[in-house]
């Protein structure tokens, strides 16, 4: 090739690179007057309540932020991935392609997170999940880890699983556990993770894995009843938990029913009917209404239209506030957000310190709460 052409190309390439750097430099980014954050989670579908309970936390945080007339206004983009990895794999590239989006509040479910990683990693889009709790998402040795884009403001199931076994067996003299999971990224590890703790507390008399979406749980109910179990733990989501628990109660099972945060959604008592009564649930969350003052709660209701904040609205609020703090500090590009989230430290709504370790978990973890269904309402009971 001609030397002149080569040197010409080199100069052109250098100029392009230089212009590119200028175009994405902080000085240019600072000129932005608005950016977007995306909320990715289930907003429709069988597990919609999970996302519908969380998104008000994000809406509330952004409304408070925008009300202060900041230099950079923030919009919320809703991405509905239905707690389904297949849907998320299609939704996430769309979110990543939206250049206005500089951070993702999400995902709600672990399967969604895993399916979203390829698109968000390629786009350098930072995620802060309010409830995706599967251990593998932040496990440095796991092939499906979300490093470096994934972070979460919820304790992972390594904390929740033993707490679930403890809370399920609370007050039971000689617990005999039957542990069932829904074969999802979330439900499987949560249920199996509770087994070591269950064995310390009593006997595990049976286990089963029933695919999510199963209609008929009568054979499972027969097995549980025949096993003599008095504590059933289910790792899975609300819709299937409601079907399973109904089948168990209708099949004559009279012992304890317990499940994790995937079932801890405000529509669970309605879906499970009388079978929901007394069900024990866990979640690594502090109820938002216990944190907010009366005036703040009224303001929350006015902004979101929600009277009683649902589960993980606190963590969604915390996740959003981390992004908003970074934006206030001048991080308005994806790379600047990633740097800020990775290195920063914040105080959560409950007064706790939030700082992420290298792989995206909160350093020190977080307490897991125990909840009870009483008179058709899920109420906070105690630390699990």
């Amino acid at each position: 090739m001609n030397k002149k052409i080569v040197s010409g190309l080199a100069i052109a390439a250098a100029a392009t690179l230089a212009l590119g750097v200028v175009a994405t430099s902080p000085a240019s980014a600072a000129a932005k007057t608005s950016v977007s954050l995306a909320f990715e989670g289930p907003l429709t579908g069988p597990d919609a309540q999970l996302g519908q309970d969380q998104i008000p936390g994000a809406i509330y945080a952004i409304a408070l932020y925008n009300a202060k007339n900041p230099k950079v206004k923030v919009n919320l983009v809703k991405a509905d991935s239905q707690c389904d990895g297949t849907v998320a794999a299609n939704v996430a590239p769309g979110v990543a392609a939206n250049k206005a989006v500089i951070g993702v509040i999400g995902t709600s479910c672990s399967g969604e997170a895993r399916a979203s990683f390829p698109a968000f990693k390629a786009a350098g889009l930072t995620m802060i999940a309010p409830s995706a709790s599967a251990v593998s998402l932040t496990n440095p040795k796991a092939p499906d880890r979300g490093f470096p884009v994934f972070h979460r403001v919820v304790a992972h199931d390594g904390f929740q699983a033993p707490a679930l076994a403890r809370y399920a067996a609370k007050g039971v003299a000689s617990p005999k556990f039957y542990i069932i999971d829904d074969m999802t990224t979330y439900g499987g590890p949560l249920a199996k993770g509770s087994i070591p703790q269950a064995k310390k507390l009593g006997d595990v008399v049976g286990t089963d894995s029933v695919p999510k979406g199963t209609a008929d749980y009568t054979s499972v109910a027969s097995k549980v009843k025949a096993s003599g179990a008095n504590v059933v733990i289910y790792g899975g989501y609300t819709t299937d938990a409601a079907k399973l628990f109904k089948a168990l109660r209708d099949g004559g099972y009279k012992g304890i029913l317990a499940s994790g945060d995937g079932t801890n959604t405000s529509d669970f008592p309605a879906l499970a009917g009388s079978a929901a009564e007394g069900v024990r649930l866990t979640a690594a969350d502090v109820p938002f209404d216990s944190i907010l003052s009366k005036a703040q709660l009224a303001e929350f209701t006015k902004i979101t239209g929600i009277k009683v904040p649902g589960l993980y609205s606190t963590t969604a609020y915390n996740a959003t506030n981390i992004f908003l703090d970074c934006i206030t500090k001048g991080a308005t590009t994806r790379s600047a957000i990633q740097l800020c989230v990775t290195n920063g430290s914040w105080t959560g709504a409950g007064g706790e310190t939030i700082k992420f370790d290298r792989y995206g978990d909160i350093i020190g973890g977080a307490p897991v709460g125990g909840y009870l269904v009483k008179n058709g309402v899920i109420i906070y009971d105690s630390v699990a």
């Binding site: 919609a48 004559g252 309605a270």
Partner: protein, 317 residues
């Protein structure tokens, strides 16, 4: 493999397998009867089932005004309420099935369209119904009121004779007996059998082919509507894609029994229900689908026309 369940839960699994299998059998009639006369799979039948579950819910909640937390009914009020909803669900499904025939099959048939065109148009109707319901319900599952309290007549070796389980067994058996008699004895039933054996000869004998085909869709819709009512009353929930798994199971039952064969659908449904229950209990629920389809493949290897395939060729009843 846990063989102890065979001794400890045998009768319980038999009872539950019968209840589940007979629901499958009712839906499989929608496939098998249409196949009998048209030699085509009615892929929209799964969505006819889905609409039946929503018709049941709509009648209970919006027409009769029961809330999901309403107390269960008793006595005459329970009986007439359930009968009313049962008939309503059957009528809704029969009307829809006949509409599917008119929209997806009749015109194409009249124009001598390729058989694949009818197949695809039925799939199109199925997807339109599915996605339409997804939009209407924003994909959320819905719970129906517990109008029938699930009281038990008693236990027999661990098998709990619950009222809803018995209803799921007795009602389909009655429907099958009536339908079997109708197809074998009545003039209209004989017309259906004649068309299934030879459309050309039936025409020559003066049988109105379109009328027979519409009647076949209507009967398939009625039985699918009955299944939808029983399913919703037993499981008390529905969702826009409830027909998908049910459709696969019912179609499998039809193939297992010998598609096109009424009695094949009956026994195929029962065999599938039993197989699912015993596979779940003995191997674990995660092995249910693997076991069912392995057995199906093995059966078809030795009996390519299904368990009652030979009878199809001879009687079509």
């Amino acid at each position: 493999m846990n063989f102890s369940v065979i001794t400890s839960q045998f009768w319980s699994l038999v009872l539950q397998g019968l209840a589940l299998g007979l629901i499958y059998a009712l839906v499989s009639l929608g496939y098998t009867m249409v196949y009998g006369v048209l030699r085509l799979i009615n892929f929209a039948n799964s969505e006819v089932f889905m609409i039946g579950t929503f018709a049941t819910l709509y009648l209970e909640v919006h027409v009769l005004g029961y809330a999901t937390n309403s107390p269960s009914l008793h006595g005459a009020k329970l009986v007439w309420t359930l009968v009313l909803v049962f008939i309503g669900s059957m009528i809704a499904c029969a009307l829809l099935a006949m509409l599917v025939e008119i929209v997806a099959y009749r015109r194409l048939r009249a124009r001598g369209a390729n058989r694949l065109a009818s197949l695809i148009s039925a799939i199109g109707v199925s997807i339109a119904l599915l996605e339409g319901m997804r939009i209407i319900t924003i994909s959320r599952p819905m719970t129906t009121p517990r109008l029938l309290d699930k009281w038990s007549f008693g236990e027999f070796h661990g098998a709990n004779f619950r009222i809803d389980t018995l209803m799921a067994i007795v009602v389909p058996i009655i429907i099958f007996v009536v339908l079997d008699r109708f197809v074998t004895k009545s003039r209209l039933g004989k017309s259906i059998r004649a068309v299934s054996m030879s459309e050309e000869n039936s025409k020559l004998m003066g049988i109105n082919i379109n009328r027979v085909i519409t009647l076949t869709f209507c009967i398939g819709g009625l039985t699918t509507g009955a299944a939808a009512f029983i399913y919703t009353t037993v499981y008390e929930n529905t969702v826009f894609n409830v027909g998908f798994n049910m459709g696969i199971a019912a179609f499998t039952a039809a193939v297992l029994g010998g598609i096109g064969n009424l009695r094949g659908a009956f026994y195929g449904g029962i065999a599938l229900g039993m197989l699912e229950q015993f596979a779940s209990a003995m191997l674990g629920s995660q092995w249910k689908a693997v076991t069912v389809f392995t057995v199906l493949v093995v059966v078809l290897l030795f009996k390519p026309n299904g368990l009652f395939g030979e009878a199809v060729q001879q009687t079509r009843t």
